[in-house]
């Protein structure tokens, strides 16, 4: 998982860190990164799917 996180592009990692680990909502994340809330949501979706697939492909049982 650490490797998957490190490989994640900054454009996906930054929204994820702010949204889930700094407890900001999508609107606040968008204000900080100068993105629309819908763009933030789409980047969160992309990042989460990449991480989940990485976990599942490694055969780690959720």
């Amino acid at each position: 998982m650490r490797e998957s996180l490190q490989k994640l592009d900054d454009s996906l990692l930054a929204p994820m860190v702010l949204r889930y680990f700094c407890d900001l909502n999508s609107k606040e994340v968008g204000e900080i990164l100068a993105l629309s809330p819908s763009t933030v949501r789409s980047r969160l979706r992309e990042a989460r799917i990449i991480l989940a697939r990485g976990l599942l492909e490694r055969g780690v049982e959720p």
């Binding site: 996180l5 930054a14 976990l55 959720p62």
Partner: protein, 169 residues
């Protein structure tokens, strides 16, 4: 994978985050009840976020551990997250200053203004907490001072601004 799984998969993150409308949420829940593939992806989404959270906490702990020796002799190699946080501050400064400059003046305090004040207090407190975290790094001295200055100038009516004034001295 069923034909509709791709559509459902794209909704799963919003589903776990509680961002879907009640009707979409019901649609996803109905699909999950019958589709093992999507249930597995949902579990993967939840577990990977949980693990990422643990790694995030660990990375913060690591920065605590390297603080003392780094201050003595070594140049700090910032964790990637700290570098991102620093770059975020620069973007935030530009964004918030622009928003403040373009905000229309009001002659009396409206509900929207009160709401803004509350939001600003929360934003200022979060920026202050992050600046204090970064202030542990000698390399971050300049950006931390900029951040304190930004809080003082942009959120001058907040308690965080008072703390930032102390921090900048």
């Amino acid at each position: 994978m069923e034909k509709s799984c791709k559509d459902i998969e794209e909704m799963l993150v919003d589903y776990t985050d509680g961002q879907l409308s009640p009707s979409d949420s019901s649609k996803v829940a109905e699909h999950l009840a019958t589709c093992e593939h999507c249930r597995r992806m949902l579990d993967g989404l939840r577990k990977s976020l949980e693990l990422a959270g643990v790694i995030w906490d660990d990375s913060l702990s690591e920065t605590e551990n390297i603080r003392i020796p780094a201050a003595k002799t070594r140049k700090i190699h910032w964790p990637r997250y700290a570098v991102i946080a620093a770059s975020i501050f620069l973007v935030a400064t530009t964004s918030v200053v622009r928003r403040t400059l373009t905000r229309p003046k009001r002659s009396e305090l409206t509900f929207a203004e009160i709401e803004r004040k509350i939001t600003d207090s929360g934003s200022a407190a979060r920026l202050l907490a992050a600046a204090e975290l970064l202030s542990e790094y000698p390399d971050a001295e300049t950006i931390v001072k900029q951040q304190y200055q930004h809080i003082i100038e942009t959120y001058h009516e907040t308690p965080a601004a008072a703390s930032a004034k102390l921090g900048i001295k």
